[in-house]
């Protein structure tokens, strides 16, 4: 009992901190603060869930599996990179062969492939992602550290927006099933799913920036810069979440316990947002893992459209530049995010639905 209360207090405290951090980050200061609170929040709820559900062994097993997955991914990307013809130092104007040889020797590119592979893996387990070939002297971790926070911030805002819009929209549509409200909101959601983001982005920029001159069209320097990219990025997930929520709420709303709740005389608001919604979150949760990973790891089209200094451009450029360490670093980062998101989602299954047993 004591433990329960402590967890609740902790959750409320961290929630408030994160909210504060979020608001502060929106106004441009306290980004590190936002980061720390967010990290503590995620880590904290992680620990809470793990202790509460006695899932330590499960967690360890999953971490072990994740390690293997990451190793396979690193190997795969490493090999794919070397399959590509051309090297990192090919230029329009070919360098003299001596210089090429020196460069290859410096980065150990003249060693046999398996040696390079072992060297990279050795670096990796020591937490070193290597140095970029293109941005000479800059470690990959610095490049990621410079650009990832921006992509992350954009992603978090878009995620919050899409859940805040998507879930209520889905619940309302399901509640008024087969009414004009339902069909029109679902048509909007369907359009949102089908709209390519460059079209939405282009329309937003044209209207808000060129025609009405209300908002800046690019860059990432303050709240007014955030609005359009976040809207553009959040639209599609919001629409998908709305559709998922609607169909899942429709399933639940017909079940017996809802009828009982109505019979008890509970208000519709309580029934819908407390009883029904809680029971219909599983499909939304399932979708959340890949969605969060996708959005956090840089919506590169959005970043390109709004010229946001995020990670997206590095992913494309590093491949065309044959900047092997950078590609590998980014691929590993993206994979870690994806694996983590899926793990967190699996853990939250057990929280949302105690019947689910994680073994």
């Amino acid at each position: 009992m004591e433990k329960e209360k402590l967890f609740d207090a902790y959750k409320i405290f961290m929630g408030l901190m994160a909210l504060m951090g979020l608001i502060m980050s929106f106004f441009g200061f306290g980004i590190p603060f936002f980061w720390t609170t967010f990290g503590i929040l995620v880590l904290g709820s992680f620990i809470v869930v793990v202790i509460k559900q006695n899932m330590l062994s499960y967690l360890l097993k999953r971490c072990f599996e994740a390690g293997i997955t990451l190793f396979i991914i690193a190997t795969l990307v490493f090999l794919l990179l070397r399959l590509m013809p051309g090297g990192p130092f090919d230029a329009e104007k070919a360098l003299p062969p001596e210089v090429m040889a020196n460069l290859a020797a410096k980065y150990n590119l003249d060693a046999p492939l398996y040696q390079q592979f072992f060297q990279y893996m050795n670096q990796l387990v020591h937490g070193d992602l290597g140095e970029s070939y293109k941005y000479i002297g800059r470690p990959v971790s610095t490049i990621i550290g410079d650009t990832f926070p921006v992509s992350f911030q954009l992603g978090v805002y878009a995620l919050i927006l899409s859940y805040l819009v998507g879930i209520p929209l889905g619940v309302i549509a399901a509640n008024k099933h087969n009414s004009w409200l339902d069909s029109s909101s679902m048509f909007v959601a369907m359009s949102g799913v089908s709209l390519p983001s460059f079209l939405t982005g282009a329309i937003f920029i044209f209207l808000f920036c060129f025609q009405w001159k209300l908002l800046p069209p690019g860059s990432w320097e303050g709240p007014s810069f955030y609005i359009l990219p976040v809207l553009t990025l959040g639209l599609r997930p919001a629409a998908i979440i709305a559709r998922l929520t609607r169909s899942s709420v429709l399933d639940v709303i017909r079940s017996d316990f809802v009828r009982t709740a109505y019979a008890k005389g509970l208000s519709q608001r309580v029934i819908l947002f407390k009883h029904v919604l809680k029971n219909s979150l599983i499909p939304v949760l399932t979708y959340s893992g890949p969605l969060i990973a996708d959005i956090l790891s840089g919506a590169f089209i959005i970043e390109m459209i709004f010229s946001i200094p995020g990670m997206g451009k590095h992913l494309i450029l590093s491949v065309t530049n044959r900047d092997y360490p950078l590609v590998l670093g980014l691929a590993l980062l993206f994979s870690v995010i994806l694996v983590l998101c899926n793990l967190v989602v699996d853990l939250f299954y057990a929280v949302v639905d105690p019947r689910i047993q994680l073994a």
Partner: protein, 318 residues
């Protein structure tokens, strides 16, 4: 339809026990399973309109050289960046090429990539998923772990890497075909996994059914049980997945071309057109509208048809 007769045949195998009753029932039931679905689909107006729209787009794409008013790369330097007019219905681009013609030719490439990728995913995914689901146990565990691992490679990384590897492999000399094939290959490498998961889940369910048991008892070869009995019976979810895969392929193709990794001008796909339009957005916003709306409408139609199909095959899922 070949599919339907196969279902009926598979049901007829059950009739050895009770010659008259079950055979009649099976015939009526299996008959009505598809018929009912098609009936339900026909009632769904949005799905039918979407279907007609898709047929229209496919026809336009197939007949591009016949119906396009101009060749896709014909430049008219006297009429660059014009707005819509009678001569150029959707205007012209910076090099005086007719947008409508480029859009029609673009439909060809975008649709070809989307549809062929979906078909390859269908084939590979069904094969892989069926093997995994049918054999179960260790085979299933290993095969699915492989898919899970590949799935943990972020889509974009995998797409870009696979695309560049295929493109620079040096097998293709024609630049248009090279770009086309590399996008197609990259999307196929990514796309089959989703289908494999769906098929595997369905096969796992279906193999517990009594008709499979009956087929086994009759001594039918494993291969024909899967290919002639199970797969026809799980076609519903497979078709629905296929229908949803096509629009996501359209989207990926346009994304790749939009960021400059896909086709390059003068060749035309909707993504290429969007990229060109994007670059002159400030002064000539109509350039991005036509490819954008084309992508939007096509995706909308496929998504709506997919919704309709899902409701038709499984009315409970609505």
């Amino acid at each position: 339809m070949g599919l339907r007769t196969q279902t009926i045949e598979s049901q007829e195998l059950l009739t050895t026990k009770d010659k008259v009753g079950t055979s009649l029932m099976a015939k009526i039931q299996s008959h009505s399973l598809w018929n009912e679905s098609i009936k339900r689909l026909k009632k769904n107006k949005t799905a039918i309109i979407s279907l007609y729209f898709i047929i229209f787009v496919v026809l336009v794409a197939a007949l591009a050289p016949v119906i396009a008013p101009y060749p896709y790369d014909l430049q008219n330097v006297d009429a660059t960046l014009q707005g819509p007019s009678l001569k150029y219905l959707l205007g012209t681009d910076a090099l005086g090429r007719d947008i409508l013609s480029r859009l029609i030719y673009g439909a060809r490439i975008s649709m070809a990539i989307a549809v062929f990728t979906a078909l390859v995913s269908l084939f590979m995914g069904t094969l892989y998923g069926a093997v995994s689901g049918w054999f179960g146990g260790k085979v299933d565990a290993i095969l699915m772990r492989l898919v899970d691992t590949l799935y943990s490679v972020p889509a974009l990384v995998l797409l870009v890497l696979a695309k560049v590897v295929i493109e620079s492999s040096g097998y293709f000399h024609d630049p248009e075909f090279r770009a086309l094939f590399s996008i197609f290959g990259a999307l196929s490498i990514y796309g089959w996994m989703g289908m494999a998961r769906i098929v595997r889940g369905q096969v796992l369910q279906a193999k517990e059914m009594s008709y499979v048991e009956a087929a086994r008892a009759l001594g039918i070869q494993q291969f024909s049980i899967v290919s002639r009995h199970i797969i026809p019976n799980i076609l519903g979810p497979v078709i629905v997945t296929l229908t949803f895969q096509i629009p996501s392929n359209v989207m990926f193709e346009s994304f790749l071309s939009f960021i400059g990794l896909g086709l390059q001008p003068p060749f035309s796909s909707w993504g290429v057109l969007a990229n060109e339009g994007w670059r002159s957005l400030r002064s000539f916003p109509h350039l991005i509208l036509s490819p954008g709306i084309a992508i939007f409408l096509t995706m909308l139609a496929f998504n709506m048809l997919g919704d309709g199909l899902r409701d038709a095959f499984d009315p409970k899922m609505k």
